[in-house]
């Protein structure tokens, strides 16, 4: 009995490190700082596939890269015409929707990724959004609307074929982050797939933080709101008085 358990343990231990194909990757930026003149950023993601043996000849290897911002709950509302004017009538709450999500791949996702793997790793946009227990039969329509609106704002990006993959070994792609980023951990994931199945996953987080003046103002506003409010008022009154004094001086 003990010997059997020992064999199982050895088999398990051997199974994990001995992956035939592994991804080795790097990012052009370790962290992103939001400064006063922040106008978006671009991350270059590059890497290679490490192989202990020649690749199996079956299906070609494909690469999928995702970058995901912090998730927030959102409410999606639908307008309908009532009494001649357009009014919000239906609403649904989506528990988890990433504030930023980009998917880049070597080919069309439905061809290089199976449904089961997508479900497991939540790779496509539709899977990255989570709405639980809304009880709506038309929840899909609201999810689609969220994806549509965010895609227009470049907060969600799907670029199939944007990952360059050379000799089944070297790959690189770049992902553009818009200026209106939410602070938090941005998770970059790289998937190697073959015949729709995920062979290996690589994950790295990029912290996105406000720094300097941006940080100071944000912290003051949230930790000392009264002081912040009074300071805002003081600036307003001072600016108003200064402009008035300036114009009086000019007229003289």
């Amino acid at each position: 009995m003990l010997r059997v358990l020992g064999l199982v343990a050895v088999a398990l231990a051997l199974a994990t490190p001995l992956k035939a194909e592994q991804v080795v990757a790097g990012l052009s930026q370790e962290a992103i700082s939001i400064t006063t003149n922040f106008a978006g950023s671009e991350i270059l993601i590059y890497g290679a596939v490490r192989r202990e043996e020649p690749p199996p000849g079956s299906a070609p290897m494909e690469v999928i890269v995702t970058v995901q911002g912090p998730s927030r709950a959102v409410t999606v509302r639908r307008k309908e015409r009532r009494f001649g004017i357009w009014v919000n009538t239906d609403a649904t709450r989506i528990n988890e929707a990433p504030t930023f999500y980009a998917v880049s791949s070597t080919g069309p996702l439905d061809a290089i990724l199976s449904q089961t793997e997508d479900l497991r790793h939540r790779i496509t946009l539709a899977r990255a959004i989570r709405a639980v227990g809304t009880g709506r039969t038309d929840q899909d329509v609201f999810n689609a609307a969220l994806i549509r609106i965010r895609t227009q704002d470049a907060a969600y990006q799907l670029t199939e074929g944007a990952v360059r993959f050379r000799e089944q070994t070297l790959f690189d792609t770049s992902i553009r982050l818009p200026a209106n980023l939410t602070e938090g951990e941005y998770v970059t994931r790289i998937f190697l797939t073959r015949g729709g199945a995920v062979v290996d996953v690589y994950e790295q987080t990029i912290p996105v933080r406000k720094v300097g003046l941006e940080r100071m103002i944000y912290t003051l506003a949230h930790e000392r709101p009264l002081v912040y409010g009074l300071l805002s008022l003081f600036i307003a009154i001072a600016a108003g008085w200064m402009a008035s004094a300036l114009f009086r001086a000019i007229r003289r």
């Binding site: 006063t36 709950a73 409410t75 009014v87 941006e214 506003a221 008022l233 600016a239």
Partner: protein
């Protein structure tokens, strides 16, 4: 030059904000309106989150109104006594308005109600003011260029108690109508996220019978206090006042307000009123159009959390 706004969490062009502040500031100085009813929708349009736009706008109005009121104080066109009475009413109204706003937000129809409020009030005030000033201009022409002062008729208002003398306005009336006007304007101001000058100005002229020259300065005077309190409330409860956005808007705004006040002196009172009426009607028309015409995107996204 792009600037990242720390509270709004968006990046916008600094010169665009300075320009917007300047234009709205000129209007503010000319007409004695805070300019919020123009600026708030403009901020939505350039992508500032509504909660931040409303709160920051209140802060900016403080600056432009203060700059404007100083210009008016120099010319002695501020009725301080009347302003104080209106302000007391306004503060009470604003406090009630914040509660009403919270209740509407809970129902989830606050956007629509705010817009309907805009359309209804801007429509009524714009139309009334437009035709009244048109008549006044015709009358002025008929009587050879000299505007005849409109004699106030004795009404039920003169029978109310607690009379007070407002020397600058040349009025001896009960304090009840000004307080009522203040409460009403404060209430609407809190719900609509504006200073309320565009309601206050016509109310002073037509309801209280104050002379137009005094109305602008007095309106600005009380707006400072109502929007000042609104700024503090927003900053402490919703954390939605964006200092960087406010500074950019108010630098343009305070300069604009000075220019506006100078232009306002050169124009005749009737001309001033007809211009304000046209502007109010234009904003009203735009908002009504948006409600009536099918929007390009039927769905909208709202964040849960701060301010909601």
């Amino acid at each position: 030059m792009q600037i990242y706004l720390p509270i709004a969490e968006v990046s916008v062009n600094a010169f665009l904000l300075l320009g917007l502040g300047g234009i709205v500031g000129i209007l503010s100085g000319m007409f004695g309106v805070g300019g919020g009813f123009l600026m708030t929708p403009l901020l939505f349009f350039i992508g500032i989150p509504p909660a931040v736009a409303v709160a920051t706008e209140a802060n900016q109005i403080v600056a432009s109104s203060f700059s404007g009121v100083l210009a008016h104080l120099k010319r002695k066109t501020v009725d301080l006594r009347m302003g104080t009475v209106l302000m007391l009413g306004g503060v009470v109204g604003a406090a009630i308005g914040v509660q009403v706003f919270a209740a509407l937000t809970a129902i989830g129809q606050v956007d629509l109600l705010v817009k309907l409020c805009y359309v209804v009030f801007l429509g009524i005030i714009g139309t009334l003011m437009f035709f009244e000033s048109l008549r006044a201009i015709r009358r002025a022409r008929a009587s050879g260029g000299v505007a005849t002062p409109v004699r106030r008729h004795r009404t039920w208002m003169d029978k109310l108690p607690f009379k007070m003398r407002f020397r600058t306005s040349g009025l001896y009336i009960s304090v009840i109508p000004p307080i009522a006007v203040g409460v009403f304007v404060g209430l609407l101001a809190a719900i609509m996220g504006v200073g309320g000058g565009f309601i206050m100005v016509p109310a002073m002229i037509y309801l209280l019978g104050m002379p137009t020259k005094v109305v602008v300065g007095t309106s600005l005077f009380q707006i400072i206090f109502v929007t000042g309190i609104a700024t503090l409330l927003h900053a402490t409860t919703n954390y939605t006042v964006d200092m960087v956005l406010a500074v950019l808007l108010l630098v343009g705004g305070v300069i604009g307000a000075q220019i506006g006040a100078a232009i306002g002196v050169k124009l005749k009172a009737e001309q001033l009123r007809i211009l304000l009426a046209v502007m109010v009607l234009a904003v009203c028309g735009k908002l009504a159009f948006d409600l009536l015409v099918m929007p390009a995107e039927l769905y909208g996204i709202a964040f849960d959390g701060a301010g909601h």
